[in-house]
Symmetry: C2
Subunit: 310 residues, 2 copies
């Protein structure tokens, strides 16, 4: 169903230095007309234009950490949204420092905001954003400065509705069906009470998309990413540079694949690939030895995550 | 001669909002191994990579004004240069506010600078930078906030050296020739004094490249741009939107062409083209009615300016 669609667009997949083919880090999730962005590297506004993503939609930006390659695209998005006369509020989440960053820009770079920007500095891990249909949860990672991983987790949905069961129990089609579909019990004119579980299947799981931001491997991560549909993982350096990755606070393909396996995710996507790798097939090979369903992200790669009925 | 080359690379030619084809404003002049940049819009570091411009060369950046589309690319260049371990000093010139902008970024976005950055806030018009072979001059334009136009002006060079004349006057080939070529008189072993003007042609003019930044037309500009080899001019809006251009502090193609004509420049290049113009041929047509040698800039367009012997 179109309105249930969830699409991940990789706007930028570079390491800390961009390349001809890779823009600086940013991932855009489009879900039911809303946009959720993970990281916002320089050049993202133009990547959004190229990907035909909108500047007027309901949108939230989640920044992993205050390194320039993950955050310097934010002021330009605010300026362009204002030039296009956006009216809808924009929510920005990130570690402490993000408020001062945007305030400093506003004091020295002159532009008028046409819409409210609400900045949420994340002080502790947990659910930083709760919406009726999903939450965004976060955990502190193990990078060289405070950095957050994010998970967009859809809430459980009511089970599938079976009209034949409702009819058999004497529930007339109409408002009472709707109540049952939305999890409320109903009382029929004959005094009989029908509960949602009498006419629907079991609760259905939502989807879960996890993004590491920048991180070394760390123990608690597998629990955070458990059962994700998609795990988007830092894989800056290949496994022959594991020591260097450790030093710089990054992961290697094998480390990412071990996390994917431990977390029992459905798919692993490697990103934040260093500019030194023109050919990423060795990285893919190293990850696939451990976790088969792996791909290396490329700019403008799009992935649709279906909502499975169970 | 290769070492005399001067090349202009248009890294970004968009208006205030980028497009699929146009990145935000930036112009790079490569001259004898040095790079002089006019404006530094978001995404410039990646445009430099695509244009194969270097991050280690001697370089100066001149920012016209503190609107985001002209300056937000600067922090990313500093970060990438540091990641690539640049050691050479970078000079940054711009209107008041540019120092606070970069200091604010340094306080909130964490990166280590591997090289000195000297920030020069331009307080008054004139020669803001004097080098042995050229100067960069500036004038305040007529925009909605304080904005600078810049001119790179090469100094006069000694005239062409005529070996036959030197030989005829009895000057032996070698160090004495070099002295004469560099403007010094020499004394021969027979006591005779030979002056540079005895063996060289007249002084030769250097080249002059002028960039308006953002501006409405204003009277004093023609003098500032007089006799330029290339005038790179704001032409944000076409002539049917002259009133809107006036309101926003920009110029139209006809206004740019009138400036080119009044200043007697050799070539006019229109840039900062609004995203509304997919087809720029009407803008070109309107300018050409008044000044024939006009082109509309495109991203990665390169122009070589020869050094003419006279």
């Amino acid at each position: 169903m179109k309105h249930m669609s969830l699409k991940i667009i990789f706007l930028g997949t570079a390491g800390s230095v961009p390349t001809q083919k890779r823009s600086l880090p940013s991932i855009l999730i489009q879900r039911k007309g809303e946009q959720v962005m993970f990281d916002c590297g320089e050049g993202v506004q133009r990547q959004m234009i190229k990907a035909k993503a909108g500047f007027h939609r309901k949108m939230k930006v989640f920044v992993s950490h205050m390194h320039g390659d993950h955050v310097l695209g934010l002021p330009g998005i605010l300026q362009t949204m204002s030039l296009l006369d956006r009216r809808e509020k924009l929510d920005v989440y990130g570690p402490p420092g993000i408020k001062g960053f945007l305030e400093g820009i506003r004091k020295t770079v002159q532009f008028v905001l046409t819409f409210p920007v609400e900045i949420h500095e994340v002080l502790e891990a947990g659910a930083v954003c709760e919406e009726p249909e999903y939450a965004v949860r976060t955990v502190w990672t193990n990078h060289v400065i405070p950095s957050l991983a994010y998970a967009l987790v859809e809430k459980h949905r009511p089970g599938r509705f079976y009209p034949q069961k409702a009819k058999a129990l004497g529930v007339p089609e109409g408002p009472l069906w709707s109540k049952l579909q939305h999890g409320q019990k109903v009382k029929l004119s004959n005094g009989r009470v029908v509960k949602p579980e009498d006419v629907t299947g079991p609760f259905r799981d939502g989807r879960k998309i996890v993004y590491t931001g920048d991180t070394r491997p760390f123990k608690e991560f597998a629990k955070f990413a458990a059962d994700a549909d998609v795990l988007i993982h830092d894989a800056t350096l290949d496994d022959d540079l594991t020591e260097r990755a450790e030093e710089d606070g990054h992961s290697t393909p094998e480390q990412a694949a071990k996390n994917a396996k431990a977390a029992k995710v459905k798919q692993l996507i490697l990103t934040h690939v260093s500019a030194r790798y023109k050919d990423t097939s060795p990285l893919l090979k190293h990850a696939k030895k451990i976790f088969k369903n792996t791909v290396v992200a490329e700019d403008f790669m799009e992935i649709e995550i279906p909502l499975l009925d169970s």
